[in-house]
């Protein structure tokens, strides 16, 4: 007895091939990430043989003597990224609140468009503007700030003397401008998940808009906002070209003085690559791998936080 129709469908060779190709493309993502870790750690050998663990703890970076200590650049990366986040977070959060609550619906699109434009300007253009336009007025401003806080312990260390136009702070300002659109758009998404009934509950109790934000929006979205800020931190740490142009390229400087010239991991790679020998290159590839590891960890944690918060927001609707 022959069954006329096979409802299971016939195995189709083209179908199988297409599925295989699609899986291959998906595997490529994992492959690239794995290859980055493997290939680059394979090139770290020379510098780690020479420096050992002091690569991570030494302050001395002197290619001419063949000495490579990554600590000052690690410090510079963290310090500039923190400055950027401190400058950017209040502005990003207030802009996100402005877009979601204050601006009339018809104004929302143009505002988002402005943020998109900020996000689309290439980082090298930010760097060019920073070094040729912003650096000089900033130096004068730094001097004024230093004179204003001189003598106050703590502040006089951070806003230290002999300020430079190219410094940790300049890099922090430029990075802050660059990560503001990222943090703002994520913050908007998180804030918008606040359930309408919780907002109305606050208003019904007589809350002003700001009190409603404190009572309803904040408890609901603080987890997601922390994640958004961390994602901005990750971006700021990995940003290369803008930082390379405005950070000042000091060597071996670990200081709290934000007005002093500094250096960061990506900036030193971009600036020194051209004239580097083999050992020097190996030291910089190790720097890049370290940067890769740090940004991956920051991104993993932050996207996990954002996702969890967004899911919880939807779930409670």
């Amino acid at each position: 007895m022959a069954s006329p129709i096979d409802l299971r469908g016939t195995p189709n060779r083209a179908d199988q091939a297409f599925r295989g190709i699609a899986i291959g493309a998906a595997v490529l993502v994992l492959l690239v990430l794995a290859l980055i870790a493997l290939e680059m750690s394979g090139r770290m050998g020379p510098v780690l043989d020479k420096m050992g663990l002091s690569y991570f703890t030494s302050k001395r970076w002197s290619p001419a003597e063949g000495l490579f200590g990554a600590l000052p650049f690690l410090w510079g990366t963290l310090y500039t990224a923190c400055i950027a986040v401190v400058l950017s977070v209040p502005i990003s959060l207030f802009v996100a609140l402005f877009v979601t609550q204050v601006a009339k619906p018809k104004w929302r699109k143009p505002i988002v468009y402005v943020l998109d434009l900020l996000a689309v300007v290439p980082s090298v253009v930010y760097g060019l503007w920073g070094v040729l336009v912003l650096a000089q007025p900033l130096q004068k401003l730094f001097l004024k700030i230093h004179n204003a806080v001189d003598g106050i312990p703590g502040l006089q260390t951070i806003f230290g003397g002999s300020p430079q136009g190219r410094s940790f702070m300049t890099a922090g300002v430029i990075l802050a401008i660059m990560i503001t659109p990222i943090i703002t758009s994520l913050a908007r998404e998180v804030i918008e998940t606040t359930p309408q009934n919780e907002k109305e509950a606050a208003y019904a109790l007589g809350a002003t808009r700001w009190e409603m934000n404190r009572a309803s929006v904040w408890p609901h979205s603080k987890g997601g906002l922390v994640g958004a800020v961390m994602l901005g931190l990750g971006r700021a740490m990995g940003e290369t070209i803008a930082a390379a142009l405005v950070i000042g390229s000091s060597i071996g400087q670990i200081t709290l003085n934000a007005f002093a010239p500094g250096n960061s991991m990506p900036a030193v790679i971009a600036n020194e690559w051209g004239e580097a020998g083999e050992l020097h290159k190996s030291a910089m590839i190790a720097l890049a791998l370290l940067l890769f590891a740090i940004t991956i960890i920051v991104n993993l944690v932050s996207s996990a936080i954002v996702q969890r918060s967004l899911r919880r927001g939807r779930g409670s609707l």
């Binding site: 493309a25 998906a26 994992l30 980055i36 808009r209 700001w210 991104n299």
Partner: protein, 298 residues
């Protein structure tokens, strides 16, 4: 504290000037101020670009866009032609690599893998990959390709493709999610195989959205510098070959000229920056128009 003569119940629904309302105004004012604060750098950058870049680009029009780059950077005069060609080569090559692979990856995630464990891992890793610093991608391609085959525009294209891939995957998967299931079911009911359904029904339905996402990814890639400086080398003359010899790009030219102390080099950097920004803005604008058309049709 209530005095004997006061009325017991006094509710006024008129807004009263209390610290609470004043605080609300202050906070609203801060929100507006924050928005004004972020538009200032955008306007300042655009002003600098137009005022410094346009004069350079237009003074020697059209030579600025066609002439070769002066070998000695302190020499005045035009020339960003080779850099424009290099940018187009690297970005075009990256598009040819990343867009098909990214779309296929997203097709796997949404049409085959769905909620399977493997698909979840890939989706998560693609998200992680969007956060990998562009300089790491540049050095990765340097180690993987440039050390073996030398400088070429293709190395730059590979590095940019690595950056674009996760963005294309993310944007495409989002668009595939918008294609209603009944369209797939209708095609299956007509006896079409799965690959056929995907190629002839699902992808065409999502095409404008995918296109818009890809254009945004291309715009991002066109402005990248860090992945290129390790992979394409440096050149001052036209090099239309994708696989051979060192090349240059607009972003790389801006980077090398920005720190030059020579006015002529700085001028060329501004001209190149204006060209690059116009290019990326145009791509973004086209992407928005495509997306708006798509939204209107739905």
């Amino acid at each position: 504290m209530r005095h004997p003569g006061d009325p017991i119940l006094a509710i006024s629904l008129e807004p009263r000037l209390t610290w609470r309302t004043v605080k609300n105004w202050i906070m609203t004012g801060l929100m507006v101020a924050a928005f004004v604060a972020i538009t200032i750098p955008l306007i300042a950058i655009l002003y600098s670009l137009v005022s410094r870049g346009a004069s350079v680009a237009l003074r020697s029009f059209p030579e600025f866009f066609t002439a070769t780059i002066p070998v000695v950077s302190r020499r005045a005069g035009p020339g960003m032609g080779p850099a424009i060609v290099g940018t187009l080569l690297c970005t075009g090559g990256a598009t040819l690599i990343a867009v098909p692979l990214g779309i296929l990856g997203a097709v796997y995630l949404h049409e085959y893998g769905k909620a399977s464990k493997f698909a979840k891992v890939v989706r998560f890793m693609a998200m992680v990959m969007t956060g990998v610093p562009s300089i790491v991608m540049g050095l990765f391609v340097y180690v993987l390709w440039t050390m073996k085959f030398g400088y070429s525009a293709f190395g730059g294209a590979l590095a940019l493709a690595c950056l674009m891939l996760p963005i294309v995957i993310g944007a495409t998967e989002q668009m595939l999610r918008l294609v209603p299931d009944h369209m797939r079911e209708a095609a299956f009911a007509l006896g079409a195989s799965k690959s056929r359904v995907i190629v002839t029904v699902v992808l065409p339905a999502a095409l404008p959205g995918i296109l818009s996402g890809c254009l945004l990814a291309i715009a991002r890639a066109a402005g990248e510098t860090a992945p290129l400086i390790f992979t394409i080398g440096a050149a001052t003359d036209y090099n239309p070959h994708l696989f051979d010899n060192a090349n240059t790009a607009l972003s790389a030219q801006i980077f090398s000229n920005a720190t030059s102390s020579f006015a002529a080099a700085q001028e060329r950097a501004w001209g190149a920056a204006l060209t690059l920004v116009v290019l990326t803005f145009l791509l973004t604008l086209i992407a928005r128009i495509v997306a708006a058309r798509f939204a209107a049709k739905r």
